[in-house]
């Protein structure tokens, strides 16, 4: 029976591209190219909206939980989010710094732009993970030792890359096709390397992350006592839960009772003898019980049904994925660091995530469509699919002037 709980949540806002695609003037500076590629007005608008409904109330909630209820929390931030907060809501960033500064909170590194760089350039991926670790240290005065990637992607090669980057542990989603007969409730590693793996208990995580407000779910309405009981009943040493930060107030609105549920959880856990830990505390406590987990060559992710098909499963996603490659390659050929940086922004996994619905239906498509900016729907599904690709095509052609 699990006597410990590790809780992780990740904060991210994409740098949304501009649709309809804006034609880029020939010879445009990198700054003007960026102006055509990204819809910063929309990004600011969404940041403020999510801040109001989620980031402020959720951060205050977690602060109370760690200050008053001895809860432990791990938190990751994409640089994509942090830059938006720096530009458009410094008060929010200050509040989040206050949360991270608490001794019960551990800072986790994530892929800075929430991108698919690990697919395109694994060497640069390692460098940027190292650099992000230092950027986070500069901002929060805590140097992360545990890392996430993008959408919790991990595979054989990504594991070795994170090990080379010097992290102590990484997170992965504990899907059956990855774990096989193993439980998610233990620490793992691969090939005798020092990098530990924390598998997310995806069923218990999704009870809150996806199902909490689903009135058709047999577990609805979920009570903190029941949930603490399920955690305690899990076989193994610890349960690792992980959610989007936006779960609290955005995916599940305030009136679903999500905040009250979370505030009750520490007491219910304590009552059942479940002790919260940070990831590093779990690494230390279970250092002598680390098991081998054969990692797949195809990556796993916490999105969709756990494989890359959520991002690369339809023809539009595959086209955009190709264009991500071509954009990056072209930028590399220019040798211009600012243009390479723009190509990295264009690699954001969100640009594949939010078009997953194309040609599909069902719950995963509904999740994908939820993340598609409302403002885009006036273009129609085909228009969105076409103009998303056009953004990349425009970028590639704009770089002709630098060749």
């Amino acid at each position: 029976m699990a006597e410990h709980l590790v809780t992780y949540t990740v904060v991210h806002q994409p740098r949304r591209i501009k649709l309809p695609a804006q034609p880029i003037p020939h010879g445009a500076t990198p700054e003007d190219i960026a102006r055509c590629l990204f819809d910063e007005r929309m990004n600011e608008r969404y940041l403020h909206k999510v801040a109001e409904y989620c980031y402020y109330p959720a951060t205050r909630m977690f602060l109370e939980m760690v200050q008053e209820q001895d809860f432990r929390l791990a938190i990751g931030f994409s640089l994509s989010f942090l830059r938006q907060a720096q530009m458009w809501d410094p008060d929010l960033l200050a509040l989040m710094k206050k949360l991270v500064a608490h001794e019960n909170v551990e800072l986790v590194c994530v892929e800075p732009y929430h991108s698919f760089l690990f697919y395109m350039d694994i060497g640069l991926f390692i460098e940027r993970m190292k650099k992000t670790r230092e950027e986070l240290y500069a901002l929060f005065a805590k140097r992360p030792v545990v890392t996430d990637t993008t959408e919790m992607f991990i595979s054989n090669d990504i594991y070795f890359a994170l090990d080379q980057a010097g992290f102590h542990a990484a997170v992965l989603d504990g899907r059956e096709w990855v774990m096989n007969w193993r439980e998610t409730t233990h620490l793992y590693n691969y090939a005798g390397k020092s990098l530990r793996l924390l598998p997310r208990h995806y069923k218990l995580s999704d009870d809150v992350g996806y199902r909490f407000s689903n009135k058709g779910w047999e577990g609805w309405p979920l009570q903190a006592g029941d949930y603490a009981h399920w955690i305690r009943e899990a076989m193994g040493e610890f349960v690792f839960l992980a959610w989007d930060y936006e779960t609290f107030g955005e995916h599940h609105s305030r009136d679903t009772g999500i905040f009250e549920f979370m505030r009750c959880l520490p007491g219910e856990l304590k009552f059942r003898g479940v002790q919260p830990l940070t990831p590093s505390q779990a690494l230390e406590r279970f250092a002598d019980r680390v098991y081998e987990l054969p990692l797949p060559q195809f990556p796993s992710t916490w999105a969709g049904s756990g494989g890359s098909e959520f991002f690369l499963g339809n023809s539009v996603q595959q086209a955009i994925f190709q264009l991500m490659h071509h954009s990056y390659n072209k930028a590399r050929l220019t040798g211009n660091p600012e243009l390479i940086d723009l190509a990295l922004w264009l690699m954001q996994s969100d640009n594949l995530h939010l078009i997953q619905w194309f040609g599909r239906f069902g719950t995963e498509a509904e999740v994908s469509a939820y993340f598609t900016p409302q403002e885009w729907w006036s273009l129609g599904p085909a228009g969105i699919a076409n103009d998303m690709q056009q953004v990349y095509r425009n970028f590639i052609v704009a770089l002709d002037a630098y060749m």
């Binding site: 804006q22 034609p23 003037p25 010879g27 102006r35």
Partner: protein, 434 residues
């Protein structure tokens, strides 16, 4: 009977204007008739006392906003894009169009309509040409979303049919009142299911004063044509240049000594026209830029034309010389096959010249009353008309006099008066408060 006027008066105290156009007053922005139109119209509105905002693709090196303390406020748009496109308003058209459409509506709503509304003024927003059609729809949508649409009057004007394939006329017709410049255009637009209101083009007051007679005579003397013909316009088949050249050849065959002064653009169709002229036995002389842009310089340049039948001006012709040519010629061939309005014909008439127009948008022209109006594309129609005038000089003089009277009815000040009457109609339709 209620108190107060039956109709809401359109006055500077209760109304201000916004004009949206790609072209505008800057040399960078002035590619043709549209630039002249919006420059003069905005000036006339300001002269009539109305605060007028002109949004256009301006020179990137000039200030983005230029008010100059007057009522006319120039808003140069897309300058960050224009810096990449130094060759004028239509270079980088696609890029400029996107920027215009995506950024102008918000600025108009925030910086023009909202303050005007607070001060109790109605805003009349006028879009010009296909480039602004989608922007006008977006402005209407935005004002509607803000609950301000009823306090703004939106007009969209077609000066010709170019770019119509880019317009969602169903949406445009729902969100704006569509106008055009002549009944010829109105009837043409019926084919698109649109019934626009006609608001004619105009000319500035300054063109109504007659050019100095001695300067006109000097130009006539140096050209020494019998008859002297003039044509100004783009080298474009629609302008019927070949018809004009055939007419010159026809006059020559009658035993006269015509001389044809022409000024085209940079279009390659020039080559075809001049080849036609040569095949008809006409000689051509290209006149380079005069040493000085004054009467002496022009006369010197025109004197050195070696008795050519066609005098092809290869330099920028300033307004003053144009007016001397218009007034001095026995006829100015504004004989386009399709002309939405025909501003050149009106300018010729204002100068006291004899305009030879086509029979499409030039509804100000009446055959043998104030102009020659061609009903066919047969060059003989020009030849016989000019021969008739040569034999009836008193009739030619009468036409010249009547032409100036007609032109005086088409000044921009008159156009603004008519526009205000139309706005009264629209105000009533929109139930704007008196």
């Amino acid at each position: 009977m209620g108190e107060g006027p039956l109709l809401r008066p359109v006055l500077p105290e209760n109304t201000e204007f916004v004009i949206l156009s790609f072209e505008g007053p800057d040399p960078y922005s002035n590619a043709g008739g549209l630039g002249v139109r919006v420059t003069e119209l905005s000036r006339a509105l300001a002269d009539a006392g109305f605060r007028t905002h002109l949004f256009f693709i301006g020179d990137p090196e000039k200030p983005p906003i230029e008010a100059g303390g007057g009522r006319l406020i120039l808003r140069r748009w897309g300058q960050w894009i224009s810096r990449y496109y130094p060759n004028g308003v239509y270079q980088g058209e696609k890029q400029k169009l996107y920027d215009f459409h995506s950024s102008v509506p918000g600025v108009i709503a925030d910086e023009v309509v909202a303050p005007a509304r607070r001060e109790g003024r109605t805003v009349v927003i006028m879009g010009e040409e296909w480039h602004t059609a989608s922007t006008m729809c977006a402005i209407s949508d935005l004002l509607h979303a803000r609950g301000q649409r009823d306090q703004a009057i939106l007009l969209w004007n077609a000066n010709h049919t170019m770019g119509f394939e880019n317009i969602d006329f169903g949406r445009l017709n729902f969100t704006t009142t569509i106008t055009t410049v002549s009944h010829y255009m109105k009837h043409t637009m019926w084919l698109w299911g649109i019934n626009p209101i006609v608001l004619p083009n105009g000319i500035p007051d300054r063109l109504l004063s007659a050019p100095p007679a001695e300067e006109v005579q000097a130009i006539r003397d140096v050209v020494a044509g019998d008859p002297m013909l003039v044509k100004v316009g783009r080298w474009d088949p629609d302008k019927r240049w070949n018809m004009a050249v055939h007419a010159v050849a026809g006059l020559k065959r009658m035993g006269l000594r015509p001389r044809f002064v022409c000024r085209g653009g940079i279009e390659p169709y020039e080559g075809e026209v001049l080849q036609t002229a040569r095949s008809l036995g006409l000689s051509i002389y290209d006149v380079p830029k005069p040493e000085t842009q004054d009467l002496a310089g022009w006369c010197a340049a025109l004197a050195d034309t070696r008795d050519a039948d066609i005098i092809n001006l290869k330099f920028f012709v300033p307004e003053h010389l144009l007016r001397l040519l218009y007034a001095g010629a026995d006829a100015v061939l504004a004989n386009s096959g399709k002309e939405p309005f025909g501003i050149v014909g009106l300018e010729v008439m204002a100068s006291g010249g004899i305009a030879v127009t086509g029979a499409t948008g030039e509804e100000y022209a009446r055959a043998f009353e104030n102009a020659i109006v061609l009903e066919t594309d047969n060059a003989n129609e020009i030849v016989t008309s000019l021969a008739y005038l040569r034999e009836h000089p008193e009739e030619a003089a009468r036409i010249r006099a009547q032409a100036r009277v007609t032109a005086a009815e088409y000044t921009w000040a008159r156009v603004v008066e008519l526009l205000c009457k139309r706005i009264q109609l629209l105000s009533t339709s929109q139930n704007l408060s008196r």
